[in-house]
Every structure is written in structure tokens, then in C-alpha cells.
């Protein structure tokens, strides 16, 4: 192996003279190979992303040019009729609302479970508990869907009746007897589905909270909850947001479970408890097989909207995390 530094080959710079124009650092074959590999993977990723975006845009444009309805405001999805009429209003509403309900239920519960595992439970309980949580994340979504349709739907009538009795006056919790195949049921089901991932990630973050800050709080006379509030939660804040976004991503794109439970319809009711509605992913899964050329392109257009929605959500999460960066250094 040549151990002479490359610089030795070039003449030493004269005192006061200009530095040598090119002074190449030694590169070793291993470095060059690794550089090529990693740079190549990075470029490949960009190429794939661009290809997907181009494909989606081209096919979507094709469908949109034939659309006789307004893509954003039409309450109808008849992409296979002539002329095709379709709009995403109902899908967007259903996707956003069911995911929001899921987040509202899942995130507080997940934070609670994660804190219990990381700071309250004795070790002989916390280890098996976290194992079970991780296991839940591995259950396929169709299994959740079947459970939702066969167990959750028939058993939610009582809860819905109660909500109707006490909160029916708000309008959004009005319930007329019927199968609980509504957006609210979807929200509950999605909450259960995203609970494990949000819990797992939050638990890992809470476990990494620095001991010295917990001791600082303890030494000031903080109770266990105050220690968590002063040192664990602020430390875990950005991690919990990331975890929630992971969960939200899964909720927005969840397909099979939603398609199994929901009875789709193209109208937006005032009550969350009435059956009907739809989501982007569910609509694609339910209608893809029976769709013709334009119908498929129309579904792709709706998929593109879901893609953009997910990007926006992630961007917003990054903004929230970056806003307090000064304090998390």
C-alpha cells in the first residue's frame, strides 16, 4: 500500500507565494466505493420519487380533463359513467375526520401507557407489557377490520345511545338506530390500530429522558408526576409529535380495515354517528376492480390528493418541532 501522503508529491508552497492551486486529498478505494454507493442510493431515491409523482400527475390529469363535475366540491363518484362525474369532497372529509377522531383518542392513551411503562410500572410488569404493545403493532390491518366489523360494530350501539342522550343536542353526536358503520366507529378502530406505534415510539423517547434532569426535579421537591411534567414530557415532546405523525400517517392511509367496516355513501351527514361517508384509501380499494380506464385514473387523482395531504401533515409536524429547537439543543 502506498503510504506516502499525496501532498508530499507537490512542491512545498513558497513563503509568501500563492498556495498550490490544487491540493488533492488522498482517497482510498474503499472510500470511493462507499461514496459511489451512498450517492447512488440517494439519487435513486429521488428518481423513484420523481417517477411516482410524474406517473400520478399524468394519469390524474387525464382523468381530470374528462371530469364533468368539480373535483373538489362534487358529492359524487361516478367516474365510470359517461360523462364521468367525480369529486373528492366526501373522501377528504371522511379521511380527515376519522383520522382526527383516531388521534384524539389514541394519542392521550398512548402517552399514558408509555409513561406507565417507562416511569410507573415495576420492571417485571413493564417488560411484558411493552412486548404485548409491540405485538399489537404487528397484527395485519385486515384482522382489525374483521374484528371491527364483527365485534365493534354490533357492540357500539350502547355508547352511541349514550352519546346521543347527552351530546345529541350538538348535532354531531345525533344517533338514529342502525348499524354503527359510521366515521366515528372508523375513528375508534383507527385509534386502536395506531395506538401501538404511538405508544412504542413515545415509550422509547421517555426512557431516554436524562436521569440528571429527573434528579434535578426530584431534588426540588417534585412529586413523581411533577418530575414527569418538568423533565420527561418536555424532553419527549418532539418524539411524541413524531410518533403521532407516524400514527396519523397510518390512519390517513388505512385501507382494508376501513373498507371492511364502513358502509360507504357519497354524502356528508351532520352527525358523525350516522352510517356512511368514505375515505380516500377505502374508496380506491372498493372501486378499483370495477373501474375502467377513466375510473382508475380518477382514483389515482384521489390518491394524489392523499399523498399531498400526508406531505402537508408531515410539514406541519416539522414546523411544530422546529419552533422550539432553541430549547432542545
Amino acid at each position: 500500500m502506498d503510504i506516502t501522503p499525496a501532498t508530499a508529491a507537490s512542491p512545498p508552497p513558497l513563503a509568501g507565494g500563492p498556495a498550490p492551486a490544487e491540493q488533492k486529498a488522498t482517497t482510498r478505494p474503499g472510500d470511493r466505493i462507499f461514496l459511489a454507493l451512498s450517492r447512488g442510493s440517494g439519487i435513486l431515491l429521488l428518481v423513484i420519487m420523481a417517477a411516482i409523482a410524474v406517473f400520478l400527475t399524468v394519469r390524474a390529469t387525464n382523468a381530470l380533463s374528462h371530469n364533468e363535475g368539480n373535483f373538489f366540491t362534487t358529492f359524487e363518484w361516478s367516474a365510470n359513467s359517461t360523462p364521468p362525474v367525480f369529486g373528492i369532497a366526501v373522501l377528504a372529509f371522511g379521511t380527515v375526520v376519522s383520522s382526527l377522531i383516531a388521534m384524539l383518542i389514541a394519542v392521550p392513551v398512548a402517552i399514558g401507557i408509555a409513561l406507565f411503562i417507562s416511569h410507573y410500572a415495576p420492571r417485571r410488569l413493564s417488560t411484558p407489557l411493552s412486548y404485548v404493545i409491540d405485538l399489537l403493532a404487528a397484527v395485519p390491518s385486515i384482522v382489525y377490520g374483521l374484528w371491527g366489523a364483527l365485534f365493534l360494530v354490533p357492540h357500539l350501539g350502547g355508547l352511541y345511545g349514550w352519546l346521543n342522550d347527552y351530546f345529541g343536542w350538538t348535532g354531531i353526536f345525533e344517533y338514529h338506530d342502525g348499524a354503527a358503520r359510521s366515521l366515528f366507529t372508523i375513528g375508534i378502530l383507527l385509534a386502536i390500530m395506531i395506538l401501538p406505534i404511538v405508544t412504542s415510539v413515545s415509550r422509547e423517547v421517555f426512557l431516554q429522558a436524562p436521569k440528571m434532569h429527573e434528579e434535578a426535579a426530584l431534588a426540588l421537591g417534585a412529586t413523581r408526576w411533577e418530575v414527569i411534567r418538568m423533565s420527561v414530557l418536555p424532553f419527549g415532546r418532539s418524539g411524541v409529535i413524531s410518533a403521532s405523525m407516524l400514527g396519523l400517517g397510518r390512519a390517513l392511509g388505512e385501507t382494508m380495515a376501513v373498507a371492511t367496516v364502513l358502509s360507504p355513501s357519497f354524502e356528508i351527514g351532520t352527525s358523525l354517528l350516522d352510517p356512511g361517508g368514505g375515505t380516500f384509501a377505502q374508496n380506491i380499494a372498493s372501486s378499483f376492480k370495477e373501474s375502467g380506464e377513466i375510473g382508475k385514473d380518477a382514483l389515482i387523482a384521489s390518491g394524489l390528493v392523499l399523498f399531498v395531504l400526508t406531505l402537508l401533515v408531515n410539514g406541519a409536524a416539522r414546523l411544530i418541532i422546529a419552533r422550539r429547537k432553541e430549547y432542545t439543543a
Binding site: 436524562p210 440528571m212 434532569h213 434528579e215 434535578a216 426535579a217 426530584l218 431534588a219 426540588l220 421537591g221 417534585a222 412529586t223 411533577e226 418538568m230 423533565s231 418536555p234 424532553f235 415532546r237 422550539r324 432553541e326 430549547y327 432542545t328 439543543a329
Partner: protein
């Protein structure tokens, strides 16, 4: 304000391992008492038994009596949380809360104590504590900046300000200068000299010159061997410990001859 600490027959354990054995001593109010001794001799463990922080460590357990004036800290029904409000602590590594501003760091303990403090009153407490920690002039124009942005020495003084803001009776310091440069160390030592007017101070240090400079009384701890519990060898006036100790082991340790 300051109270006397009277320890008798104190043993501390980590699980089944006995870390300190049968320690009895008295710490005088409004004075500085230094703990010196080789690593592993249990001086930090002993310090942590004085505000019930030892039992926070998994497996940590304490036997014996620690009297703060006439209240036994280990008596039945004593709430460790209220003990820690009376006996404050400063740690080896400066540990201001990274998500809080300088102001909020100092106010943290006061806000904990439950009752709503009026803003003006809190402002007064923060200013007084930062002045007490000789930090006010350096930070008064940036109280809303994060505490983690200060230098190491400033952070440690911020931690001292945070500890004295709740007006404890006793201030425990666990090697407070070992992560600091000599100038910051000097600043903290000067501060200790001022703080003893109001508080009972106990400081663990590896630096014997520091013990000689800041303390009125010095306690020397030692252990018979690896895995053996640490013991208190002797406690006496600092001047006497460093000039004419009554136990040979102390003199050997201080003059650098051990074993």
C-alpha cells in the same frame, strides 16, 4: 433559617450491597462541612441519604436516623417530597432544565410548591435567588433565554439559584465544581462562603484544597477494600484535619500516601 443535622447509626444499601456502614455525625447550622475520601467510599451516597434521594435509586434503602433539628427525616409518615423541599441539592454536572428559560428554571421549585405565586412576587424571588447565586448581573438582560445556553459555570450557579429559590434549610452539594474550569470553580467557592450565612452547607469534593478553602468542618470517609462498605473515619475542624488529624489514615490520605 438553617438547621442542624444529627445523623446516628446510618446504614445505606444498594440491593443487598451495603454501601455505608454505621455513620454518626453532627453538621452544624450556618457552616460548611466538607466530605472527602477516595472514590467509592460512600460520601456521595451518604450525602444523598440526607435528603432522601438515595432511595430513588432502584434497590436503594436506608436504615438509621437523620435528625433535622428535632424531626427525623426517616420517621414514619415523613413525606420524602417535603424533605427534599427543606434540604436542597446541587449536582456534579450542571443540570438546568433544558426546555426552560433562565427565569423558569429559577422559578421551577417555587411553582412546584403548589400555591399560585403572584407574578410580582415571583419576579422578586427570581431576582433575589439569582443575586444570591452571583448570577444576576450576567443574566438580567436575558432571563427569557434558555438556561442551557449559559456556560458551564453559569449553569452551575443557575442550579444553585434554583435550589436556594425555595429557601431550603440545608444545601447539599455533590462535587459541584468537578465539571468546571478553575475560574468558575473560584466563583462557586466564593458563593459558598456567602451562602453559609443563611444555609447549612454540606459539600462533597475530591479536591482537598477546595475542602481546605471553603469548609469549617471536614469529614474523612474511607473503605477497607473493594466491595466493603464505606465508613466515616473522623470529622473535625478543617484546620485540625489538615494540620494534625487524630487518625493516621486521614493524614496518609491528605498527604497523598495511602495504603
Amino acid at each position: 433559617m438553617a438547621k442542624r443535622i444529627d445523623v446516628s447509626g446510618l446504614n445505606a444499601y444498594y440491593g443487598s450491597h451495603k454501601a455505608i456502614d454505621d455513620i454518626s455525625m453532627t453538621v452544624e447550622p450556618r457552616s460548611v462541612t466538607a466530605f472527602i475520601g477516595p472514590s467509592g467510599c460512600g460520601k456521595s451516597t451518604f450525602l444523598r441519604t440526607l435528603n432522601r434521594m438515595h432511595e430513588v435509586t432502584p434497590g436503594g434503602r436506608v436504615e438509621g436516623k437523620v435528625m433535622l433539628d428535632d424531626e427525623n427525616l426517616y420517621g414514619p409518615g415523613v413525606d420524602p417530597v417535603s424533605v427534599r423541599r427543606t434540604v436542597g441539592m446541587v449536582f456534579q454536572r450542571p443540570n438546568p432544565f433544558p426546555t426552560m428559560s433562565i427565569y423558569d428554571n429559577v422559578a421551577a421549585g417555587v411553582r412546584l410548591n403548589g400555591d399560585r405565586v403572584r407574578k410580582a412576587e415571583l419576579d422578586g424571588i427570581v431576582e433575589k435567588s439569582l443575586k444570591g447565586a452571583n448570577l444576576w448581573n450576567e443574566v438580567k438582560d436575558r432571563l427569557n433565554k434558555p438556561g442551557a445556553g449559559l456556560s458551564g459555570g453559569q449553569q452551575q450557579r443557575l442550579c444553585i439559584a434554583r435550589a436556594i429559590a425555595v429557601e431550603p434549610q440545608v444545601l447539599l452539594m455533590d462535587e459541584p465544581c468537578s465539571a468546571l474550569d478553575p475560574i468558575s470553580t473560584l466563583a462557586i467557592e466564593d458563593l459558598i462562603g456567602e451562602l453559609k450565612e443563611h444555609f447549612t452547607i454540606v459539600i462533597v469534593t475530591h479536591n482537598m484544597q477546595q475542602a481546605a478553602r471553603v469548609s469549617d468542618r471536614t469529614a474523612f470517609f474511607n473503605l477497607a477494600g473493594v466491595g466493603q462498605p464505606g465508613k466515616l473515619v473522623e470529622i473535625d475542624d478543617t484546620e485540625r484535619i489538615f494540620s494534625n488529624p487524630s487518625v493516621q489514615a486521614t493524614e496518609d490520605y491528605i498527604s497523598g500516601r495511602f495504603g
